[in-house]
């Protein structure tokens, strides 16, 4: 059981790291598209969407990291 548990925990840590990296990438790609000197509105709109999604993802990542750590801490006290 502890083997499966530590595997899932390790996987979660890796996924969290990748998610933060992707947030930075999406942020950069989003601004690059939005700020690009291309007179195509659809491309700029896609860049704007990437930035918005990246900000929302970062928000949920930060909240999730805090809440799950808190839940684990409280559960570990009993």
């Amino acid at each position: 059981m502890s083997g499966i548990e530590s595997f899932v925990q390790q996987l979660t840590t890796q996924v969290t790291e990748i998610a933060w990296s992707i947030f930075i990438l999406a942020w950069a790609v989003g601004w690059a598209l939005r700020g690009s000197p291309i007179p195509i509105f659809k491309v700029k709109r896609t860049g704007q969407d990437f930035i918005e999604d990246a900000i929302m993802a970062a928000f949920w990542l930060a909240i999730g990291t805090t809440v799950f750590a808190l839940v684990s801490y409280v559960a570990g006290q009993f």
């Binding site: 059981m1 499966i4 548990e5 899932v8 925990q9 996987l11 979660t12 996924v15 969290t16 990748i18 998610a19 992707i22 947030f23 990438l25 999406a26 790609v29 989003g30 896609t46 969407d49 990437f50 999604d53 990246a54 929302m56 993802a57 970062a58 949920w60 990542l61 999730g64 809440v67 799950f68 839940v71 684990s72 559960a75």
Partner: protein, 277 residues
């Protein structure tokens, strides 16, 4: 040599299954894994949400998995509350497991005593044209005993492992990409409904005036007494151990599917194949 190796492997596998048997699993260990899986689902959701790919089909998994992760975490932390609520609802409805188990064993004992009488008569009269109806009666009684035995096994499984079944349901619900959502909801619905509803089977039977625990006299001293015994016992057992329990289990299964759907937020699938519904 090969057969010896095969035997060793088989014993090892059997021991493995014994270790992984239902009674050896701990509900809190399952819940601990569920909590980790819920976190994994949540963080996968954030990963999908942040992906810089303009594909709606991929990105829609982000908010879905975030909400799934939060929902699973809530279920994991509400485990004790769910068990408490199940127990309270059971008490309100008059569920009494020890009394129900006594009822089942008493029913089995009655069936076995009639089986013994008929079997004894059949042994005495031997293979004659008269033995044909007795063989038929024995077949019927074997069927009743098998059904009662099955009911006892299902009841023991639910009574002893309701917490574990609910924890396994939560584990299934916690899996990423909604892989086990339907089965998880179904498992939780099955455990909750059957734990509350199964002990009410005797009350359900008595509502319809069926009494299978009545003392059938097995003191056979004439053909008339034997005829009286069989003409009373067999119809009562057909009604009280086959037809009515099947209908009752069908009702409980439908309720399980409903509760499972409510928990899973969609359709649910029961962990066992139910053919009689």
């Amino acid at each position: 040599m090969a057969s010896h190796r095969d035997y060793s492997v088989r014993v090892g596998v059997l021991r493995g299954w014994a270790v992984l048997g239902v009674s050896e699993l701990n509900a809190f260990e399952v819940l601990s894994i569920s909590q980790d899986l819920a976190a994994l689902t949540y963080f996968l959701g954030t990963l999908f949400m942040a992906l810089p790919i303009p594909l709606y089909g991929v990105k829609k998994w982000g908010p879905k998995m975030i909400s799934d992760g939060i929902y699973s975490t809530i279920l994991v932390n509400l485990y004790e509350t769910i068990l408490y609520l199940v127990s309270v609802i059971g008490n309100q409805l008059g569920t009494n497991w020890p009394s129900y188990m006594n009822w089942l064993y008493e029913l089995l004992a009655n069936e076995l005593s009639i089986f013994t009488v008929v079997r004894g008569i059949l042994t005495i009269i031997g293979f004659t044209p008269l033995s044909v109806p007795f063989s038929l009666v024995l077949t019927f009684l074997s069927g009743f005993i098998t059904i009662t035995g099955t009911l006892i096994v299902i009841s023991q499984l639910i009574y002893n492992n309701v917490g574990l079944l609910i924890a396994l349901g939560v584990l299934m619900l916690s899996l990423p990409f909604r892989i086990g959502r339907a089965v998880g909801g179904g498992l939780m619905g099955f455990a909750i409904v059957f734990y509350v509803g199964l002990p009410l089977l005797p009350a359900f039977l008595s509502t319809f005036g069926v009494n299978v625990i009545q003392d059938f006299s097995t003191n056979i001293n004439s053909l008339q007494a034997l005829n009286s015994l069989l003409s009373n016992a067999i119809p009562d057992y057909i009604e009280g151990t086959v037809i009515m329990p099947t209908a009752y289990l069908g009702i409980l299964t439908s309720l399980s599917l409903g509760v499972g759907s409510a928990i899973a937020g969609g359709y649910s699938r029961l962990p066992i194949q139910v053919d009689f519904v």
